[in-house]
């Protein structure tokens, strides 16, 4: 793999199930060392896309490349450098935590026992406990430990936190990603699909929003937060009739005006100020709000 070739490259991916287009012309590219968010509602095509990256499904049309190679032709070569945590984790219930990790390690050339020990301790997972007796959250923790100990170059996470306790899940996704990126961060790429975006707010470098199988928006997180701003203004009389092409959403209520703008926020703000509002404020949208706004 050349240093500059992306870790994931998807071009015009189409995947049909019968007459339904689960993915319909998706393109995106993920550079090495990034934490890339793949946001979409349930049924938008996230899981189908990830399965195509792993050759668990074959594209109907278009192409996927992982480490610059076709995962269907070089399946073992690709999979040995990837770890995947599906949205629903299944283990053998009769194995203990320790046995499960040993079993997972047996498929891998490399296993970081130090990381394993560290995370088992942090999550207070008892190595002697039967997996069948673990809670859903603990099973996910175990799957995440099993995914990062081989120190793969690409970590594919499909809805890793859905269905879990909201306080716990933020904690542990942070811990796992921190441990994963500890060594050789330039060769640690994360591709995470989720609709619970708030938890990943600070972690995501760049994201794609997928809608009905197509890319709806791709941006760097910092750029997105600079571009999407909410402006609120209150006037002494009814708000002026302003029309901005960058406005993706607007609401007027009595003397108040609320706008969500997509770019040019400084100019729009100064134009609003020129009408002498009583109060005016502007704040960036969070990634989750940008996700919501993209459906309005």
């Amino acid at each position: 793999m050349k240093a500059e070739s992306p870790v994931i490259e998807i071009q015009n991916l189409v995947r049909k199930f019968g007459r339904t287009d689960a993915v319909n012309g998706l393109s995106l590219s993920v550079r090495a060392g990034r934490c890339y968010g793949f946001f979409g509602r349930n049924g938008a095509g996230k899981t189908t896309t990830i399965k195509c990256l792993l050759n668990l499904l074959q594209p109907t049309a278009g192409s996927v490349r992982v480490f610059g190679t076709d995962p269907a032709r070089n399946e073992v070569a690709v999979k040995s450098r990837v770890a995947y945590v599906p949205d629903y984790v299944a283990f053998y219930p009769w194995m203990t935590v320790r046995e499960t990790l040993e079993y997972l390690a047996s498929f891998r050339e490399h296993w970081n026992g130090q990381t394993e020990k560290e995370l088992l301790g942090q999550f207070r997972l008892d190595p002697l406990k039967k997996v069948g007796h673990l809670s859903k959250g603990q099973k996910t923790q175990l799957a995440l430990i099993g995914a990062i100990c081989p120190e793969p170059e690409l970590l594919l996470l499909d809805e890793p936190t859905s269905g879990l306790d909201p306080i716990v899940r933020r904690e542990f996704i942070q811990t796992v990603i921190g441990a994963y990126q500890e060594a050789h961060p330039g060769q640690r790429t994360i591709f995470v699909s989720t609709h619970l975006i708030a938890e990943f707010e600070g972690l995501i470098d760049e994201f794609t929003i997928i809608e009905e199988g197509k890319e709806a928006l791709t941006l760097e997180s910092d750029v997105a937060r600079q571009r999407y701003q909410r402006i609120r203004a209150r006037f002494s009389q009814s708000p002026p009739a302003l029309d901005f092409p960058e406005t993706s959403w607007a609401r007027r209520d009595g003397r108040e005006l609320e706008l969500v703008v997509n770019g040019n926020s400084a100019q729009i703000l100064s134009r609003i100020k020129s009408y002498s509002p009583e109060t005016v404020s502007m704040e960036a949208l969070t990634l989750e709000e940008i996700f919501m706004a993209s459906f309005k």
Binding site: G33, R34, C35, R170, Q174, T175, I177, G178, Q181, E182, P185, E201, G202, L203, I204, D205, S221, D222, R225, Q226, Q229, S265, K273, M282, E283, A284, L285, T286, L287
Partner: protein, 133 residues
């Protein structure tokens, strides 16, 4: 050192880290020679990506605010900016212009603005004193 991120400010996250570390240095909350937190714990504490912390530290290093000692971590340097004095003043002038523009729009006049600047300077001096053993 306490860093408080605000995702609603629209300011790139790494710049928020840069500015707050610089502010901590200016107020004496972080002292010359003192070690900065290492990347992973800070990333975990702030719930951000380690890339973002690394980018902030690289920026601070290029501005001469911190230095990296191999195998030991990052430390706050003395006040030795790599830039010439004129350039430093020019950089500051840009920021001051922005404040002047903002003051105009908020109808804060020259005297009040100068008084406010003096007040803020004194506040930082005060903080530095209380932060110095």
């Amino acid at each position: 050192m306490f860093i408080q991120l605000n995702f609603k400010s629209g300011k790139p996250v790494y710049l928020q880290v840069v500015d707050q570390i610089k502010a901590a240095a200016a107020s004496g909350a972080l002292r010359v020679g003192e070690a900065l937190p290492t990347i992973r714990p800070l990333a975990e504490q702030l719930r951000i990506n380690r890339n973002t912390v690394a980018k902030a530290y690289t920026e601070l290093e290029s501005q001469g605010v911190i230095e990296t000692v191999a195998g030991k971590g990052c430390f706050l340097t003395g006040n030795n900016s790599p830039y010439r004095m004129e350039l430093r003043q020019e950089m500051l002038a840009e920021e001051i212009d922005a404040v002047i523009v903002q003051a105009h729009h908020l109808q804060v006049n020259k005297e009040d603005l100068l008084r406010l600047v003096r007040q803020r300077l004194e506040l930082f001096e005060e903080k530095t004193k209380t932060n110095t053993p």
